[in-house]
């Protein structure tokens, strides 16, 4: 990697909130602009350099025509990083995969549904190989800065495989189950500083599953706290639709 690597940002089906988080990280770390050279960032700049080495990709792949663009980026970049839950998991977009596609299209576009191409929302790793992931909805600013540091050191961003509960305990939060709420902390990858429980809400699983989630144990905890089956199902399918489906297929 050159001393000041050329970096490009791209987005597919997403809210562009992760790229905004990148911009916001500059508030506290303006030195990032000296460390990397951003050659493409459509949301923030008109310049469009094609000679990037690192590509950050936000958003899910949700239509056939996105695939060629993803492959083009992969062909150029030495390192491709999925930026945020949509690119990492399919994210919130994948909620719609649970209903028949024809029904979803007809509900929103009526008899004009055929005008607008779409298919089930997927992680970008379903289309191209991905070298690293910055999880979350949105990404965590500090994790982004750490990731850039890792890249400058010539290694891939590293995220420890541990559940959110560890961070939550370190923050000395009262467990949200004790506050009558449902939380996916035991099975979700840490790294967000347990931000949702800290602000009084249960973890929604936006950072994806840890490597070996004990789903059965979590379901027992939920049952002990009287969480109805339908609510468990809803929690497990807010950000994790694709991962849950993959687990089921794997048995």
């Amino acid at each position: 990697m050159s001393a000041r690597p050329k970096v490009a940002f791209f987005e597919f089906t997403s809210c562009e909130g992760c790229q905004l988080t990148v911009l916001d990280a500059l508030q506290d770390h303006p030195e990032l602009l000296d460390a990397i050279e951003i050659v493409q960032f459509r949301e923030a700049m008109s310049e469009r350099g094609q000679d990037y080495q690192i590509a950050f990709i936000e958003g899910s792949c949700s239509r056939p025509s996105d695939e060629a663009k993803l492959k083009e980026i992969r062909a150029q970049a030495s390192i491709v990083i999925a930026l945020g839950a949509c690119a990492h998991l399919g994210g919130i977009n994948a909620i719609r995969n649970r209903a028949p596609l024809a029904e979803v299209r007809a509900y929103v576009y009526g008899d004009k549904a055929e005008w607008f191409e779409t298919y089930p929302a997927r992680a970008i790793s379903a289309v191209i190989p991905v070298d690293a992931v910055l999880p979350g909805c949105p990404i965590d600013r500090r994790e982004l800065v750490r990731a850039v540091t890792h890249l400058l050191q010539g290694r891939l961003p590293y995220i420890p495989d541990q559940p959110l509960c560890i961070e939550c305990k370190l923050k000395e939060n009262v467990c949200v189950y004790q506050r009558g709420k449902v939380c996916l902390g035991p099975i979700t990858l840490a790294g967000c500083d347990a931000i949702c429980p800290t602000y009084g809400d249960g973890c929604e699983g936006c950072r994806g599953l840890i490597a070996h989630p004990n789903l059965e144990s979590l379901r027992l905890v939920m049952a002990e706290h009287g969480v109805p089956e339908a609510e468990i199902e809803a929690k497990m399918t807010m950000f994790l639709t694709n991962q849950m489906e993959a687990l089921q297929e794997a048995g």
């Binding site: 597919f12 089906t13 997403s14 809210c15 562009e16 909130g17 992760c18 790229q19 905004l20 988080t21 911009l23 916001d24 500059l26 508030q27 506290d28 303006p30 602009l33 951003i38 960032f41 459509r42 949301e43 923030a44 700049m45 008109s46 310049e47 469009r48 949700s62 239509r63 996105d66 994210g91 919130i92 977009n93 909620i95 719609r96 209903a99 029904e103 979803v104 299209r105 509900y107 929103v108 576009y109 009526g110 004009k112 005008w115 607008f116 779409t118 909805c137 949105p138 931000i195 949702c196 800290t198 602000y199 009084g200 809400d201 929604e204 339908a230 609510e231 809803a234 807010m238």
Partner: protein, 429 residues
């Protein structure tokens, strides 16, 4: 003058989301003039169906990273009206304060980072970091404060956590609010410098009168609730939004087009300024005079200037709101409970880019029907009407100049295209 011009801007930059500008002039005659919305369809309305009502605001904030608080708030208001929930005075004050944080954050992003480069002859804010570091650092400083205001109240601006049906799940301490108040007071110098900077940027001269629509209240500059009001006269309760927005599907846009009393109408900062000028804080009115904008302003490029006026308003009003909250001190209170678990409600907010509607039908605690109408969608027909009026007046310019004038016009509307591509009016059967 017979002239051929072909403008084809693929994926216009420095806007949120994906749009193309296509203009075709042959022998001096305008053949085609479109803002194509090529954003992938997103289907949020379909995604909400079957979900528990408590999830709606967390799902729909993901419509947009820039106006996440706005979507969450409109979503909460729709749910709260559907379920007969009455909010405490503290909740209303804290939500307004949180909203000011988002308006400031979004407007600072748009005016400094997306619009200003056009006037300073650069492609983005990045070269400015070297050529005009004080301007960039000021923008980052102001944006950080706006973000911190949101963070203090709801955990983060993108995507809010503590905003929930009936209230909040977390409360700031009085000390945190006092610290915010001090920082807002200290921000006044930056706000003055911002007004000074935009005084110097000369907006392109272009006028086209249209219908301006915004939410309105008599006793405050309205961002949440209120009634729908028009500069052409008339007010409508927000529940009647469909009779104002009248959407059509067009082939070149995955977002629908809207019209009310004319062929098109405009929403956003300029529309709010035109509709609600009387409710602005006196300092914002003074800034408007300094910036040379007065109602009714019919130059769409001035939308960015109206945003500067709103930044002034929000800073001053946030200080007033903080004083009101601090006078009583913050109380930890449980969210107000629902009176019922079935019903229909319309939530309306004037988010940074204009009026936003969320409309849900809830049955037994689950969303069964959902419709969201987004500001950028409402503006699309108006942008194209502006483009059609503008192009014939600038045909003597070079193709490059014409392209830039059109890009700047689209950018002035501050379009949020990821939002709009699912702003389709879903009819409940």
């Amino acid at each position: 003058m017979a002239k051929n011009i072909k403008v084809d801007v693929h994926h216009i930059t420095r806007v949120e989301g994906h749009g193309n500008i296509v203009v075709d002039v042959r022998n001096g005659e305008l053949k085609q003039c479109e803002l194509q919305i090529v954003e992938t369809p997103r289907f949020f309305e379909a995604m909400l169906r079957g979900r528990p009502y408590l999830e709606s605001s967390h799902i729909t904030s993901r419509i947009c990273g820039i106006c996440a608080v706005g979507h969450a708030t409109a979503s909460l208001r729709a749910t709260e009206k559907a379920l007969g929930i009455t909010l405490s005075d503290q909740t209303v004050l804290l939500r307004r304060l949180n909203f000011h944080g988002e308006i400031m954050d979004s407007h600072i992003l748009h005016t400094y980072m997306l619009v200003a480069p056009d006037f300073l002859g650069v492609g983005s804010v990045i070269p400015l970091a070297r050529s005009a570091p004080d301007v960039v650092l000021r923008a980052l400083r102001m944006k950080k404060l706006a973000g911190d205001l949101c963070k203090t109240l709801c955990g983060r601006h993108t995507h809010p956590i503590a905003l929930t049906v009936g209230g909040f799940t977390h409360f700031p301490s009085n000390d945190e609010l006092i610290a915010l108040r001090e920082r807002l007071e200290a921000m006044r110098d930056d706000v003055d410098a911002t007004v000074e900077l935009f005084q110097k940027l000369e907006m392109p001269a272009f006028e086209r009168d249209t219908e301006y629509i915004a939410l309105h209240k008599d006793d405050e500059y309205c961002f949440i609730d209120g009634v729908i009001a028009s500069t052409d006269g008339g007010t409508w309760p927000v529940e009647k939004y469909r009779s104002v927005t009248n959407e059509d599907i067009v082939p070149h846009s995955s977002a629908k087009h809207c019209r009310n009393q004319r062929d098109a109408y405009m929403v956003g900062a300029l529309a709010r300024f035109n509709v609600n000028y009387n409710q602005l804080h006196s300092k914002a009115k003074a800034a408007a005079i300094a910036l040379g904008i007065k109602p009714k302003c019919t130059n769409p490029y001035m939308n960015s200037v109206a945003q500067i006026v709103e930044i002034v308003h929000c800073v001053e009003d946030a200080i007033i709101l903080l004083d009101k909250v601090l006078a009583k001190g913050v109380t930890w209170e449980d969210p107000a409970p629902p009176a019922r678990l079935s019903g229909e409600g319309v939530g309306a907010c004037d988010v940074p880019r204009g009026t936003l509607f969320h409309n849900y039908v809830i049955e037994d605690g689950r969303v069964v029907e959902a419709n969201c109408i987004i500001p950028t969608g409402q503006n699309l027909a108006n942008v194209e009407a502006d483009m059609r009026a503008l192009v014939p007046t600038i045909l003597d310019q070079t193709q490059e100049q014409i392209t830039q004038a059109l890009e700047m016009l689209v950018r002035a509307y501050d379009p949020c295209i990821s939002c709009s591509s699912h702003m389709l009016d879903v009819r409940f059967e």
